[in-house]
Amino acid sequence: MLRIKRVPTVVSNYQKEETEEAAAAARRVSGCGRNCLNKCCIQGAKLPLYAFKRVNKFKTEMGVHGHEVREPEPPVAFLDSLVLGEWEDRVQRGLFRYDVTACETRVIPGQYGFIAQLNEGRHLKKRPTEFRVDKVLQPFDGNKFNFTKVGQEEVLFQFEASEDGEVQFHPSAPIDVENSPSVVAINVSPIEYGHVLLIPRVLECLPQRIDRDSFLLALYMAAEAGNPYFRLGYNSLGAFATINHLHFQAYYMALPFPIEKAPTKKIISTGSGVKISELLNYPVRGLVFEGGNSLEDLSNTVSDACICLQENNIPYNVLIADCGKRIFLLPQCYAEKQALGEVSSELLDTQVNPAVWEISGHMVLKRKKDYEEASEENAWRLLAEVSLSEERYQEVNALIFEAIARGDDANGGVAESVIGEADAKPKSGGEVDAINKNSCPAMVSGTPECLVLHSGSRYCGLMIRYCFYKLASAMTY
């Protein structure tokens, strides 16, 4: 069992050591006096409620026949105003551990413009906690810190789908304990202004794992905020999630992230119109998802990929950018390397744990020395350690595409005859010269069953296109 010692970031003012927690719990009678979200305090609690409109079709800039009347530039969208206003309110109430706007930040000169921040206050000096990093799926543990323990003042508002298809806002709505609401809370150790946590169905105490519903909620939030500089991120366990209670993070940064600038190469389009590309010329290998006939199609495709990774115990990070229109999926292996002692001490000394923001190109540095010496080469070198190797990455992609094709097929309907055992583990296609390491799971020599091609099946279509992409890539070398 792989473990590493880490000092977790404090995200709530109520975060305590697990041992202290247990002792406190033993002493507690009724009502913990902290005004938290647990049964002890939640009855009668009220929070603002933002009900978003379920827009399934992406808002098009103009219709095909004639065009929608739109304002020249959308004013700060309502959800945006709500997040900013509530966040500034908590700033003035002194709920944050430090003023993040007083932390020096700069763009490192170079091709990509990595962003470095000097933040000495973010990591508390505490006794380090043991953290298990070799299992992406771990059951929820109520004894450990989770978001039902945050004080209600740290929660900004509830975030739910509106019943009637229109945006609704209630400045003070009761919390429906039976149908646990999803909430947005502050991160008291923010990386940037507006750093919040989106916690789907907080009272259900879901462990940190993505499912279709929760991912869709995150995507709706990105779309609703309508601000390309308000991005959401997700870290799986083993990819530097600090708390095993389902949550996404978000904050404002009115600059492009390096990862957003990286060129991409299209691999395939799915049956539901989702375009999947791979990142090129970036230290971390990953996939980019765009398009889709609807927001839900895009969401389901990405969720299916995440679920596949989870089930195969591959840690990963997700960045939702461009108002939910571009999603980056990055499998990683840094924690495992760390636990096995394979990371250089030089890199370890910076104490940068490469989670989604770091991988996207935003580095928070604790030591002045690291901040002043920050360079594009250093950043690249660190992130290169995070990436899966090319070989492993191709294997993982094959798994992902298989999962997506299955999901696509299930949605697409017209799935006809039997697909042969598409062997998920790639075998080297020795028979074909053009294919060396880039083997296709669907066209495997040596297996008794081969793909029975039936154009009615989306699964086939997608897998064939994927295989051709791989073959074409191989042939161009």
């Binding site: 020249p72 930040t105 091609l453």
Partner: protein
């Protein structure tokens, strides 16, 4: 919006004599000119060539932002590149997919350049030229064109050579169909990417040159010269066009004060502030806010404000202020320090709300929340936009 149209007219009248419209109309090319200092970064001029190409009328375009021509197949990364070029005030040339009024998508070479004020070095306008890409030199990103050429059949040989058995006989015919299905449900046949030819690039460069020379010429006649490159360094109190664009999205009445300049002048005033107080922008920018105070303004409150600024704290006060027409109003004033990326205070933001106006906006946000959200938006804009060490090279 009358005031917006007024601003748009002013956009040109401030810099160029009226003949500039005719001169620009004589150019055959397709281009648009936008003004970053107007809220929304709207189009202030669209050439005849552009109207013809896009199918829109002038009235449908003037005052709107360029993103109205984007659509679902427009490449998101290209949009980001354009947005960043605007933010960094630098020229850019990209291949872009836009949509006409009737909804048809088309590829064009999009070349954008800037016009700077000669004396103050500010970016006054962005000029964008659009050259439709006629040459059908398209590339499929995978480097492989499946259907027509021999490459497809060679591939098929390899693939099916490797599968030893049980391949449906009709599958070879189906294969082409499956491959061609790039799940283009919309039925619009359009390539994923497109490359402009050298001819098209030259056309664009010439067009830009022509436009710039027209603008330069007609600015000489007003004495407020412009040029195609930044000739002088912007002075103190300079607000970049990208900060203008960001601040322009904030609908509340607010001003930015620069505490480092003598007499702490206002360096930015929002449209809503001008509407509230009745002043014009050029009457207030560069002045200290004290012109808002009058006979009955409480001096203790003024002292409170001064103290908050001195101690770098946020404060909320209720103060009697005066408009240009000398009428007074109670102002719920919220002042907050605004830091830039160095972590030091760059400005103080003062957000004003007239007491007695509707307590909640149409969404239900309290006025307090609206004030705070303005502060938050200002903080994000000032901090982020000062992070750059200079434009990154990509």
């Amino acid at each position: 919006m009358d005031s917006q149209l007024g601003l748009i007219e002013q956009s040109f009248n401030n810099r160029y004599t009226l003949w500039v419209h005719e001169a620009l109309d004589e150019l055959p090319d397709s281009f648009t000119i936008t003004d970053p200092s107007i809220s929304g970064h709207p189009i202030v001029f669209a050439s005849r060539g552009f109207l013809k190409m896009s199918g829109f009328s002038r009235a449908e375009i003037i005052g709107r932002n360029g993103r109205m021509f984007q659509g679902p197949r427009t490449n998101r990364r290209t949009i980001m590149e354009i947005r960043e070029a605007i933010r960094e005030e630098r020229p850019i040339e990209v291949n872009l997919l836009n949509y006409k009024k009737d909804g048809t998508p088309f590829w064009m070479l999009f070349k954008m350049s800037l016009v700077f004020g000669k004396e103050d070095g500010r970016a006054t306008h962005f000029v964008a030229v659009q050259v439709p890409i006629v040459s059908r030199k398209h590339m499929r990103n995978s480097g492989m064109s499946y259907s027509e050429d021999g490459g497809g059949s060679r591939l098929r040989e390899i693939v099916f050579g490797s599968c030893r058995r049980e391949v449906c006989s009709d599958s070879l015919l189906d294969l082409d169909r499956v491959l061609a299905l790039d799940s283009d449900d919309t039925g619009l046949e359009i390539e994923d990417s497109c490359e402009a030819s050298d001819l098209e690039k030259r056309k664009a460069a010439t067009a830009i040159d022509n436009i710039l020379s027209v603008l330069t010429h007609y600015s000489q006649l007003t004495g407020r010269l412009v040029c195609g490159k930044r000739c002088s360094l912007p002075g103190m109190g300079f607000i970049s066009s990208s900060l203008y664009i960001s601040l322009g999205r904030i609908k509340q009445s607010f001003v930015l004060i620069d505490p480092h300049l003598p007499d702490m002048p206002m360096v930015y005033a929002s449209d809503a502030f001008l509407k509230l107080t009745g002043y014009d922008r050029n009457e207030v920018v560069g002045q200290n806010c004290r012109f808002l105070n009058g006979v009955d303004t409480d001096t203790t409150v003024l002292y409170q404000i001064k103290e908050s600024i001195r101690t770098e704290q946020a404060c909320t006060v209720r103060i009697l202020n005066y408009r240009k027409d000398k009428s007074s109003f109670w102002n719920l004033l919220h002042i907050s320090p605004i830091r830039n990326a160095s972590g030091k205070i760059a400005y103080f933001a003062a957000v004003h709300t007239e007491e007695g106006c509707r307590n909640q906006d149409r969404h239900g946000l309290s006025l307090e929340m609206r004030q705070l959200s303005a502060i938050g938006a200002i903080k994000v804009a000032v901090r982020s936009l000062s992070m750059g060490a200079g434009p990154s090279k990509s």
